[in-house]
C-alpha cells in the first residue's frame, strides 16, 4: 500500500491495520511522519498514567449494604401495594367480562348525564318548583282561573254579539289568549315543576283579565 504524508491524519483518525502498517513503513523514510507517529503513540502511552486500578477494600461492603437496604425497601413497598394486583388471580375471560361491564356502566352513566345534562343546559333559567311551592301555585292558579271565569261570564253577552269593531277585536284577542293558555296548561301539566311555564301562564291570565276588564269598562 502506498501511503503519503497527507494520509497521516486520516489514518490517525480511522485507519485500518493495513494502513497503519503502511504508515509505519512510510515513516522509516520520512522524518516528519516518524516524529508525528511517535508523538501520537506517546499520547496513548502517557494516558496509561491515569489508570489506577488499585483496590478499595471498603467499597464493596458499602455497596453490598446499600443494595440489601434498597432491596428490603423495595420488597416492603411491593407488599404494601400487593392488594392492587389481586385481579391477577382471576382468569383472563373473567377480567375481560368485568372490564366490559364497567365500560358499559360508564357508557350508560355518561349517556344519562349527557341527555339530562343537555336538557338542563337548554333551560338554564327554568328553576324547578319543589312540592309545597307547587301545591301553593296550583291552588292560587285555580282561584285565579275561577275569578277570571266570573269576569268572562259578565262579559259573555258583549262577546257573543259584538256591537262595535273594538268588541269584535277583543273577542279575537280572547280566542288567541285562550288558545295560548290551553297550550301552556298542557305543557305545565306535563312538567308541573317548571316555574318558567307557570310564569308564562300567569302572564296570559293577566292579559285575559285585563282584556275582560276593558270589555266591561266599555260596556259601562
Amino acid at each position: 500500500m502506498n501511503i503519503k504524508c497527507e494520509d497521516r491524519d486520516r489514518i490517525f483518525e480511522d485507519g485500518t491495520p493495513a494502513e497503519w502498517a503502511a504508515l509505519e513503513a512510510h515513516s522509516a523514510n520520512c522524518g516528519l511522519c516518524a516524529e508525528e507517529l511517535r508523538t501520537w503513540k506517546s499520547l496513548s502511552t502517557t494516558a496509561q498514567e491515569l489508570r489506577d486500578y488499585s483496590d478499595t477494600p471498603s467499597l464493596w461492603p458499602r455497596i453490598e449494604r446499600a443494595l440489601v437496604e434498597q432491596a428490603a425497601a423495595g420488597k416492603h413497598r411491593a407488599e404494601r401495594w400487593r392488594w392492587l394486583s389481586f385481579g391477577r388471580r382471576f382468569s383472563l375471560g373473567l377480567q375481560t367480562a368485568v372490564a366490559g361491564a364497567l365500560v358499559l356502566i360508564l357508557t350508560v352513566s355518561a349517556g344519562w348525564l349527557y341527555w339530562h345534562g343537555s336538557k338542563l343546559v337548554e333551560q338554564p333559567n327554568h328553576s324547578l318548583l319543589k312540592s309545597p311551592a307547587l301545591a301553593e301555585v296550583e291552588r292560587a292558579q285555580v282561584a285565579y282561573e275561577q275569578a277570571i271565569d266570573k269576569l268572562a261570564v259578565q262579559a259573555k253577552p258583549e262577546l257573543e254579539k259584538p256591537s262595535t269593531p273594538l268588541q269584535a277585536n277583543y273577542r279575537e284577542k280572547l280566542l288567541v289568549l285562550d288558545s295560548a293558555i290551553n297550550d301552556l296548561r298542557a305543557q305545565a301539566g306535563m312538567n308541573p315543576s317548571n316555574a318558567h311555564l307557570r310564569q308564562l301562564l300567569l302572564a296570559m291570565y293577566q292579559e285575559k283579565q285585563q282584556t275582560l276588564e276593558d270589555i266591561l269598562e266599555e260596556k259601562r
Partner: protein, 232 residues
C-alpha cells in the same frame, strides 16, 4: 488557562508501553516486547453468554451477581469515575450510586446493548449528574466558575510529572473530548463500546478521539519554533 505553555520533551521523557488490547486499530510493532508499567485493564467485556447470565442474576436479585459485576469491573468503574470527577471520594459515591441504579432499573434492561456497557452508561450519566450538581453548588457558593474536575493526588506512578501535565492538558479539552479520550486511551474501551456508553455513533467516537489527541498534542508539545531558537 493553566495548561498553556506546558511542554513535554516527548523524545526523552515518554516511554512507549505496549497496549494490552485486542482488535484495536493502532500500530504496535515498535512497542512490542517492552515491559508494561501499569495494571492492565480488566477483560473488556464478558462473552455474550456470560454477560447475559450476569444480567439474569442481577435481575433475579442475586447479590452474588452484583458482587461478580463488582469483581469484574469495580476497579475500572472507580477509575472512570475518578477521571471524570477528579477525586476518589466522589468516584466511590458514583460507583455505589451506579450499583443502586442498576438494581432499581434492571427490570427495564432489554438487552439492546451488553449489560456491562449499559452499566457503564449508567455510571457515566451518574458522573455527569454529580458534575452538574457540583457546578450548581459552586454557583450557589459563588466560588470560581471553573467546572472542570480537579484531580487529587494519586499514588505515585512511573511518571508523576507526566501524569500531572496530562491531567492539566485534559482540562483544556471539551467535556466530550475528555470523556472519549479517557474511555478509549485510559480505560481501553473500543469505539463501539464508547458509542454505546455515550450514545453517539462509532464514527463520532473516532472523530472526537482524533480531535482530543490533536488538541492534547498542541497543548503538550513544545513549540517547535521556540525549541529551534533555544537550540541556537
Amino acid at each position: 488557562m493553566g495548561t498553556m505553555g506546558l511542554a513535554l520533551p516527548w523524545k526523552t521523557r515518554i516511554s512507549s508501553v505496549p497496549r494490552e488490547r485486542e482488535m484495536r486499530v493502532e500500530p504496535s510493532e515498535d512497542l512490542k516486547g517492552r515491559p508494561s508499567q501499569t495494571v492492565a485493564p480488566p477483560a473488556m467485556t464478558a462473552a455474550p453468554s456470560e454477560d447475559a447470565a450476569l444480567a439474569a442474576r442481577c435481575r433475579a436479585g442475586d447479590l452474588a451477581g452484583y458482587e461478580r459485576l463488582y469483581a469484574m469491573h469495580g476497579a475500572r468503574m472507580k477509575n472512570v469515575a475518578r477521571n471524570l470527577l477528579g477525586n476518589a471520594i466522589d468516584a466511590e459515591d458514583a460507583v455505589q450510586e451506579t450499583f443502586l441504579k442498576v438494581q432499581r432499573s434492571i427490570a427495564g434492561f432489554r438487552g439492546q446493548s451488553s449489560f456491562v456497557t449499559w452499566t457503564y452508561r449508567i455510571l457515566i450519566n451518574t458522573c455527569y449528574d454529580a458534575r452538574r450538581s457540583r457546578v450548581r453548588k459552586k454557583e450557589v457558593a459563588t466560588e470560581d466558575s471553573d467546572n472542570s474536575p480537579r484531580p487529587e493526588p494519586r499514588a505515585p506512578g512511573a511518571h508523576p510529572a507526566l501524569r500531572m501535565a496530562l491531567e492539566r492538558a485534559l482540562a483544556s479539552l471539551t467535556k466530550h473530548q475528555r470523556d472519549v479520550f479517557l474511555l478509549y486511551e485510559v480505560e481501553g474501551f473500543h469505539h463501539a463500546e464508547i458509542a454505546g456508553m455515550l450514545e453517539i455513533t462509532e464514527t463520532a467516537s473516532k472523530n472526537t478521539l482524533f480531535q482530543a489527541k490533536r488538541n492534547l498534542r498542541q497543548v503538550l508539545e513544545p513549540p517547535r519554533g521556540n525549541s529551534a531558537a533555544g537550540a541556537r
